[in-house]
């Protein structure tokens, strides 16, 4: 293995026990993947933050107590609960105290307290081509695909060790040549550009894309070019969860796919698949619960964390009306967004409409049993994908307009889809 002097010193224990142990883990990983060198990273996203058991908490505390420090700027992902309003969310004190222990140990190691699965909404995002070690599927997919930074899927708590060592084995998506698209998904003629005025098109197309692609690297052609960050966020998060995608290319949109040629590295796609309206209908069938009709217990928005712009759009759609007494409307935002909402007065105006604003937590950690809720509505392709497998409830999928009308009416309001008015 070709090691730099500093890497040899770390392995030798000259920079402390934790750096040595972290490097040993990464060395074994490199050797197993037949990689003969490391690459320096300039950032890390730490997803070992949702409480999942004592071992996780104890491991971070052990690292922190041994004096571990992140060698690179490291942002923290969402936790299990809102750190201030956990009680109102009906979380157990156990969850909260574990979360506080996670907070303390990660901060002690120098992590930046973003506590969000959308650190790119909190002021921390990489630039094109930068090498990173990230965990959390939507962050990985967003950074790789939308920004063109480079990370493999570093599952917790491996990313902590990468951040501490400041480097990773040079393999997989770190290597430019491994990032080309293999296959192509094209939007069929029956999917018209103006349909994208309904923003539910983004998760629906991405769900269909992910179902075809699985965890391979493919490109998507035919998307609108005036796409917003919130649209791109829904695309990444949904594709990462329906298919396990760590990197995709959107021809004419994402930086490594400014042309089809670029996306495929000058080669021809190995396979071309068209998707049509019927595939979007199938995607919605997978994401939604058609059986729920009438009352809805809760509307959940903010997976990945709701952005400032989405909050502004929410106010616009509410148009001064209040959330119905017979339901609840929760939005989960990053704490950085809370601060800006407060500065502009939007926080107060939204809460005055009966909207509950939470931060820090992951929406999937929502306590359906304790809150006595059985019917859920959400606009998130990712949430709707995981909610059933993780919480046993299949939510109703709707775009933001449908979610708002439902929250105001207290009963499901479903609009048409653009192709079916």
């Amino acid at each position: 293995m070709k090691l730099t002097d500093y890497e040899k010193e770390m392995l030798n224990g000259d920079h402390g026990e934790v750096r040595q142990q972290a490097m040993q883990v990464l060395y074994d990983l490199a050797a197993f993947h037949d990689v003969d060198r490391f690459v320096e990273i300039v950032g890390c996203h730490d997803d070992s933050t949702v409480y999942a058991g004592e071992a996780q908490v104890a491991f971070a505390e052990m690292l922190a107590e041994k004096g571990a420090r992140f060698a690179v700027p490291t942002t923290t992902n969402a936790t299990a609960c809102d750190m201030l309003k956990w009680h109102r969310q009906k979380h157990d004190v156990e969850v909260m105290s574990a979360t506080r222990r996670i907070e303390a140990s990660h901060i002690k190691m120098g992590a930046i307290p973003t506590w969000s699965c959308a650190p790119y909404q909190a002021g921390f995002q990489p630039s094109f081509g930068q090498q990173l070690a990230c965990a959390e599927s939507n962050v990985i997919c967003y950074y790789n695909s939308i920004i063109g930074a480079r990370t493999n899927r570093y599952a917790g708590p491996l990313e902590l060790l990468c951040g501490i060592a400041g480097r990773v084995p040079y393999f997989g998506l770190h290597v430019p040549e491994n990032r080309y698209a293999q296959g192509l998904v094209k939007l069929g003629d029956d999917i018209r550009l103006e349909y994208f005025e309904d923003e539910s098109m983004y998760p629906l197309v991405s769900y269909a894309f992910g179902s075809i692609v699985g965890d391979r690297i493919w490109a998507l052609e035919g998307m609108p070019t005036n796409i917003t960050n919130d649209n791109l966020k829904q695309c990444s998060a949904t594709a990462a969860s329906s298919g396990g995608i760590a990197l995709f290319h959107m021809i004419g949109v994402t930086p490594e796919a400014q042309t089809r040629e670029m996306a495929f590295g000058g080669k021809k796609p190995e396979e071309v698949v068209e998707i049509h309206i019927k595939d979007l209908e199938e995607a919605e069938r997978q994401l939604t619960n058609y059986e729920v009709d009438g009352d809805i217990d809760i509307v959940l928005l903010g997976c990945p964390h709701f952005s400032y712009d989405e909050c502004a759009k929410l106010e616009f759609l509410m148009n001064g009306r209040k959330v119905s007494d017979s339901t609840e409307l929760w939005i989960i935002v990053g704490r950085a967004t809370v601060d800006r909402l407060k500065d502009s007065g939007l926080y107060e105006r939204l809460t005055a409409l009966g909207i509950q604003i939470y931060s820090d937590g992951c929406i999937l950690e929502y306590r359906s049993q304790k809150l006595g809720t059985k019917t859920i509505m959400s606009n998130s392709g990712k949430f709707d994908t995981y909610c059933f497998s993780m919480r046993g409830i299949q939510p109703v999928f709707g775009n933001m307009w449908e979610c708002v009308e439902t929250a105001v009416a207290g009963k499901i309001v479903k609009g048409a889809r653009p192709w079916k008015k």
Partner: protein, 141 residues
């Protein structure tokens, strides 16, 4: 017991001999394995309701969520982790737990990869033995 040696690619090495729990289905630790008992909870697995604690758990691939590392570490803490793991291909998600166990907790959970042909030979085997720094395993029928 009859013994056959099989070549393997070593991801995490160690000395252990234990009973084999053999699966033909890809597996997701997060949600699929009980972190507090080692019980397999995924009803799409052919090992549904079996227990991996202290066994050599063979499954072709990992799949799904990236939480495997946390589950295995919790199993290590509660002493219900598998004794070793055999895959066709191990990804970093699967390796995280065993590598951290080795370098931080000095606990050995060997992980090796076999060729597809050799993997099929495991079916019906009773026990497997792993050896530190050796690129084969011994399979007992």
């Amino acid at each position: 017991m009859e013994k056959v040696s099989i070549k393997c690619k070593v991801a995490v090495s160690g000395n252990v001999r234990a009973k084999l729990l053999y699966s033909k289905d890809s597996f997701c630790f997060w949600g699929g394995a009980d972190p507090q008992s080692g019980l397999i909870r995924d009803n799409r697995s052919d090992c549904y309701e079996k227990n991996m604690a202290g066994q050599v758990f063979a499954f072709p691939f990992g799949k799904g969520s990236s939480g495997a590392g946390l589950v295995i570490l919790e199993q290590v803490r509660l002493d219900c982790a598998p004794a070793a793991i055999i895959n066709l291909r191990s990804d970093p998600v699967i390796l995280t737990g065993p590598l951290i166990a080795k370098h931080f907790y000095n606990k050995s959970i060997p992980v090796v990869n076999l060729s597809e042909e050799d993997y099929e030979k495991l079916e019906g085997a009773k026990e497997i033995e792993f050896f530190e720094d050796k690129d084969y395993i011994d399979v007992y029928y």
